[in-house]
Amino acid sequence: MASINQALLDLKRLDQLAAGGTVLHRLDPRAKVLATLVFIVSVVSFGRYELSGLIPFLCFPAFLIALGQLPARYLIAKVALVCPFAVAVGMFNPLFDQGVLVQLGPLGITGGWISFASIVLRSALTVAAALALTALTGFPALCSALERLGMPRAFAMQLLFLYRYLFVLTEEGGRASRARELRSLGGSGDGLKSHASLLGHLLLRTWRRAERMHMAMLARGFSGALPGGEGSRFGAPELLFLFFWSALCITLRLNNAPRLLGALVTGQLP
């Protein structure tokens, strides 16, 4: 459970970062959400053997981290945490796809390895951008931005509650699990069976908490919609930010910048 508690602390840190006051923090969340969306779509839509074309995209998360004064090492560690999933997705590519695509002197690099590297790089890029976005905006502001962009209100509310009660639930789960561990005295403590029962209890308790919360909301006149805060304005800086990054992402998606640069240097423009 220590690791879960640790993860929770990290989430709180992400929230703290959102309280910063840089230019990027002050931008309307909608601009940041849209720009990140364009970025993610551009990155994900590359072909499976594309590697060089992805590299320039590193500039977007790097820009957010640098200008937003985010702790780079902390965010990179978070990205590294997600990498094993990407590795698991791509790990069989080198085995199945043995056709040599690139010949570097005596070393032939197969398509499998390239597509594997492409998957890992793509996931690192998208996760880094999403994390930087959250650290610059804060989860609640992100939800309200999504809602103002047209996401159904019920979803936004669900996300907000998920975020608020994640902390309560994990603390509750952590306590229950610690109690189980203490009484299993280093043994397996009835193994899967006790875990299943623990989860069941947690579910029931969550259910009852949801009922009490609903009661608390009704008691204060809740009628189906959360009162929205006063939204920030979508002005010139937002437009500039959104336009610049969308244009750059789309240009980089349509043209392979490293190849163009290489061609320019070697004087072999097509």
Partner: protein, 252 residues
């Protein structure tokens, strides 16, 4: 001022599984009164409280707030009049920040702009929590959570405050602070608690529930002096009324 009066007549409530939580409870709480509702676990305290703002509706009998009988048509007005502070503040603080949480009630009442801001800061100042406004609820200590939970209700300017175990889980300092705070309120108050010392300080009148019925109803001191009654209802005297463990001397 009639909305400060709370009347309960022959209230019965049975849960869907057949458990009869309340049988024939009648009470009248007048304007400005501070009333404690005490009883053993399962005596029906929480069920009774849930009726006061219409979260549960009576199986039979009637609950009246001022001139309004609590029912589906009067819920909004009743809920504005009766402010309910829950047992677990985590159930009550569900918005991203303290400020938004305190603003939730008044915003639902249609208050906006500067009025809303004044209302929220006023409520936070009353519970000495203005400095917490922009914190997330999960960053607060138990005492702070409790005070903020009270502010969320105060911001709706209720006439009657209903509180479920307000001192539960607080350290002595936070408890003392809360008691001081509650003493200042002019509202009619209905408080359930197992903290009988707090009851002794805050409430001039006490209602003892047992098995879903009103077992006794009278001045707090009188009830706490009746040892037979307390024992029968699985209660005991507040510590401050028991003999001193060192010298054996009784204070009251």
């Amino acid at each position: 001022m009639s909305s400060h009066i709370l009347e309960i007549e022959h209230l019965r409530h049975a849960y869907p599984d057949g458990t009869e939580a309340l049988r024939d409870v009648s009470l009248r709480i007048a304007h400005g009164e501070s009333v404690a509702i005490i009883g053993a676990n399962g005596a029906g305290k929480s069920t009774l409280l849930s009726h006061l703002n219409g979260y549960l509706l009576p199986s039979s009998g009637v609950v009246r707030v001022g001139r309004l009988a609590v029912g589906k048509g009067t819920l909004l007005e009743v809920r504005r009049t009766v402010g309910m502070v829950f047992h677990d503040p985590d159930d009550q603080l569900f918005m991203p920040t303290v400020y938004e949480d305190v603003a939730f009630g008044p915003a639902n009442l249609g208050i906006t702009g500067q009025d809303l801001e004044r209302c929220v800061t006023g409520a936070l100042e009353r519970v000495d929590a203005a400095h917490l406004a922009h914190k997330a609820p999960y960053r607060l200590s138990a005492g702070e959570k409790r005070r903020v939970a009270i502010a969320t209700v105060l911001s709706m300017s209720p006439d009657i405050l209903v509180m479920d175990e307000p001192t539960n889980g607080l350290d002595p300092f936070a408890r003392r602070q809360l008691i001081g705070l509650l003493k200042e309120f002019r509202h009619s108050k209905v408080i359930t608690s197992h903290d009988l010392d707090m009851v002794l300080e805050l409430c001039e009148r006490t209602v003892v529930l047992s098995g879903g019925e009103v077992r006794a109803d009278g001045p707090t001191l009188e009830i706490f002096r009746d040892e037979a009654l307390l024992r029968e209802c699985r209660l005991e005297k507040p510590l401050s009324m028991q003999g001193c463990p060192v010298c054996g001397e009784r204070r009251r």
